[in-house]
């Protein structure tokens, strides 16, 4: 039915269109062709003039209406240092092309009206005028030279790579379908090597973990940068072309698989300062940019105003597939101090997601930082236990001491915590401890008891070997008799397999 109606409508419209056309043919018949043409000339000549005026007014009025979105003006100020040179070139070009635009559009439609066909008018015979043509070849040539020189000057400065002695921080952005993965170098200031063949679910960038530069690299979820610090973004792609696009910073560069690109820029306005600019007030106390004073959630008038919620954004500007339009990352520009604080909170991706998994090539060793961290943590726990009056607090787990499966042989990494214990014993000469071994409930209770005893003895022997007096030590095995968690889950059983020591005297 709807289809039928639609077809009927179309047919009806067609008939109307044809009938409008017929009117013209009838008029021609009545008035004669010349008369009709003369009327058309004066009518459409006048329309040309009207169009010209309306069109030019519309361009000016619309430009005024959207002035807050124009490069360089109002809220669309560049937030990077180099951006203002590009905005400047834009406006210089706008100035020259604006003049040409207005003059040529006026002449075009004005001449159309002025020289509309009239009875008795003779067109002038004017095939060419060399002088005039030289003039209007030369003027564009001069203007173009000016624009080229200015443009290239800005271009070569903006696109120059960093020099080797420059103080610059390097970060990396990798595009993939459909998100950006960011990477910061960590305390060593260096990004580790990558190999696309090593990419898998836990290693999204294919970082080569045998390269120690990768160990401290972080993968934050936001692009956070300190203000006024030059940054070089290494831009790469994992699959198809993407484009690293920071509209507020005038930064744009394709991400190309197999060929890292870069963009160097210096953010100059922090997010907070930018918000304040958007929320600026005029002298009379009214907002400078009222649209930024609207509630950020249109359905809730009490929600924060738009300027308060403003954020810089990272986008993709090269078609990369069906999710191209949503590759957003938040960008925050902060003060140097805030940046350092933020950086301090970030954990390296390796440490949070790779360390001690099957993918970790360094499973059999501890990094210096880990040794230090563990020692500090252990000493902490010991001093807490010493100061506590509660008996149950005097039992401490040797959580980094472990054994080969089913045997009492210590693993290589166990010695670090045992060494910590040795130094604790040396620091507190009056301390006496009892070492106890425990197992879970799998297997035979008698052999579990035996194994726990052997393991406790092993630790005892180690400490004695390091010079701790035997009088201050005892060792006992409790098998599966003293669980601290349920034996029904693997996690619980893991907790129950443990070695601990109890401070008997201090």
């Amino acid at each position: 039915m709807t289809v039928l109606l639609a077809i009927l409508c179309i047919l009806l419209l067609t008939v109307i269109v044809v009938q409008i056309g017929r009117v013209n043919e009838l008029a021609t018949k009545i008035r004669g062709e010349e008369e009709i043409q003369a009327r058309a000339n004066s009518r459409h000549g006048a329309l040309s003039l009207v169009f010209m005026i309306v069109f030019l007014l519309a361009t000016v009025i619309s430009a005024m209406y959207y002035k807050d979105h124009m490069l360089w003006y109002g809220p669309n100020t560049s937030a990077s240092e180099h951006g203002s040179s590009l905005d400047y070139m834009f406006n210089i070009t706008l100035f020259f092309t604006g003049i040409v635009f207005v003059i040529t559009q006026i002449l075009l439609f004005y001449f159309a009206w002025k020289y509309r066909g009239e009875k008795g008018r003779k067109a002038s015979f004017m095939p060419h005028d060399n002088r005039l043509e030289v003039v209007w070849t030369a003027i564009p040539a001069v203007v173009m030279t000016f624009l080229v020189v200015g443009g290239l000057d800005a271009w070569n400065e903006v696109m120059a790579d960093v020099k080797s002695d420059e103080d610059v921080m390097e970060i990396e952005a990798t595009g993939f379908q459909f998100a950006w993965q960011l990477r910061y170098p960590g305390p060593d200031g260096l990004l580790g090597t990558r190999n696309f063949e090593m990419i898998d679910a836990t290693n999204p960038l294919g970082q080569d973990w045998t390269d120690k530069k990768n160990i401290d690299d972080i993968q934050p979820s936001e692009l956070v940068l300190p203000v006024n610090k030059k940054v070089r973004v290494r831009i790469t792609s994992r699959d198809v072309l993407h484009n690293f696009y920071l509209p507020h910073f005038r930064v744009k560069m394709d991400a190309v698989p197999g060929m890292p690109t870069y963009f160097v820029f210096t953010p100059k306005i922090t997010t907070e300062e930018y918000r304040q600019r958007l929320g600026a007030l005029k002298a009379d106390g009214t907002p400078k940019y009222p649209e930024w004073y609207e509630p950020s959630d249109p359905s809730d008038p009490e929600s924060p105003r738009r300027y308060e919620n403003f954020n810089y954004e990272l986008a993709c500007a090269e078609l990369c597939g069906q999710g191209h339009y949503a590759m957003r990352r938040l960008v925050r520009i902060v003060s140097e101090a805030e940046y350092e604080a933020w950086l301090g909170e970030q954990q390296s991706y390796y440490m949070s997601s790779i360390r001690n998994t099957d993918a970790d090539p360094w499973k059999d060793m501890l990094f210096d930082s880990e040794i230090k961290e563990r020692a500090a943590e252990f000493n902490d726990r010991v001093s807490q236990a010493l100061s506590s009056g509660n008996a149950s607090d005097k039992v401490l787990a040797l959580d980094h001491v472990s054994y080969q499966p089913g045997s009492a042989e210590l693993t290589a990494l166990s010695r670090y915590q045992l060494d910590n214990l040795v130094s604790v014993m040396n620091n507190y000469p009056n301390m006496v401890i009892e070492i106890s071994g425990h197992t879970d409930n799998t297997g035979d209770a008698a052999s579990n008891l035996q194994l726990s005893e052997a393991r406790a003895r092993k630790v005892y022997d180690y400490l004695v070997g390091k010079g701790v007096a035997t009088a201050r030590l005892s060792a006992a095995g409790y098998g599966q008799t003293r669980p601290i968690a349920t034996n029904d889950t693997p996690e619980g059983r893991e907790k129950n397999r443990r070695t601990e020591f109890r401070i008997v005297a201090q």
């Binding site: 619309s62 005028d129 070849t137 070569n156 078609l319």
Partner: protein, 617 residues
Amino acid sequence: MANTAIKPVVTEEDLLIEEYGYDDHFHEHHHGDKYQSNFITTYIFSQDHKIIAKQFLITGMFWALIGALMSLVFRLQLGFPEENLAWLRPVLGKWITINDAGMGTLAPEFYYALVTMHGTILVFFVLTAGLSGTFSNLLIPLQVGARDMASPFLNMLSYWFFFLAGVIMFLSLFLSTGPFAGGWTAYPPLSALPQASSGSGAGMTMWILSLVFFVVSVLLGGINYITTVLNLRTKGMSMWRLPLTIWAFFVTAILGLLSFPVLVSGFLLLMFDRSLGTSFYLSEIFIGGQALDHVGGSPILYQHLFWFLGHPEVYIIILPAMGLVSEVLSVHSRKPIFGYRAMVYSILAIGFLSFIVWAHHMFMSGVNPFISNFFVVFTLIIAVPSAVKVFNWIATLYGGNIRFNAASLFAIGFVSMFISGGLTGIFLGNSAIDIQLHDTYFVVAHFHIVMGVAAFFGMFAGIYNWFPKMYGRFMNETLGKLHFWGTLIGAYAVFWPMHYLGMAGVPRRYYRFDSFEAFGQFSAMNQFITIAAIVTFAFQMIFVVNFFYSIWKGKKMTVRNPWGANTLEWTTPIHPGHGNWPGKLPAVQRWAYDYGKDGKEFIPQIKPMDEGETEAH
């Protein structure tokens, strides 16, 4: 119609041709014209350039409608993303997903397929084949004084390869994995890997196949146009007496001949990467959960090969429109085109420069920034011949006695569009500014105005002007003028606001804008653009109705030369048969632009020079 015998009226033109013309004994050789003996050889597998021109035109119109409808669908998505599109389900099927609440949404894959197809169809099928194919075919033999193209058979093949290309592209729209959706530029790796986009599977294979056939069509046509212009000019038709239309078609054909093969080579390597496991464009890719074997290729190489065609291609589109507009403006201003030689040199300069500016599409693609310096210089140099052309068109109007009709209005509109769109090219060609504007709506505004709308305006000017030559009838003037004003205002309403979007940094090829705070603040403007696009499309329907109505019912042409034009096509009979002139070929005595000379309103090219008269250029 062409077969209808019309009682010959002896006119001044006939007498001039009889007296000065060149007798090639055409009639003795082709008596009875065995090539056009039945319906199929006359209207389908025709070798007559005039019929082939109509075939290109009507096929082009078919594609223009498809392409425009596609743009309306994706404009609906952009203007009214929350609107229920379930009503489109009968047409688009599974690409409209319906949620539990009965709300129909356009699938993002298909949004990108529509955008891609819109670009491909408009650039290649409409503005290359439909524009250049139509008017090169129609006007080259008629305006140089030839019986037909140098090789009518190749010319016929040219159309049928285009038709084949169209059939393949059309079929690809109905694939279950969808048509190609990686943008009309088809950059790898997106276009090379079906894992990256479902349209990059069978859709892309058909896309490439279609365009390879299309290139065959362009080359067969182009070699014909060039040969015809060089070898089949009639007596007295020196190169400097060619109308500007022919100069434009000639240079266009050369551009096509030199650049399209490079595109095919680019496509060939892409095919190898897709099916033979080579790595011309692919390197270090991890996709779909696995690392690919391809190593060592460069996606940038494809971009070079593509834009080596792609940039000349925009001049392949705009030069014929410029030629048509030059001719139409001159005829209807009743004045010679101003600065004929400067116009020719400008066409040649633009044609030459178009080959050394391709990388201005690639400033932000990761090529060495140093290289961009050269491309900026050459790109901005193009502004000079372009400016000369604009000033000369305006000077052509100056002091004229302008006859306003649909053709001349569209020609004036073309100049306005070319100025508006051309000037924004100066922003984009300057690499420093391009950093911010690249791949934003500013680019969309720029190229739609300068090579989309402007080329359409040139095409409309040509259709309204030469329709009588094609069909022996006029198109309706009232509807034509209505069509013009609606299109002029509508096109500006659609594309002008996009400049502001671009300045605000809104990227093109986004399915929705609201995932970004910076891009999502223009929903009112996007609605306005969508409504303007729908209205403008409605005005094109007036043209379509007018066109087909006028073929059969339009006002009949009663004189051979209704516009009082100088060029040779208007000396042929109202319904020229195959061979164009029934008797001798006309001989050319002067250039094509003696309008208003020595007090005469116009002096056709076949009229001998008076004693003591000198050529005006």
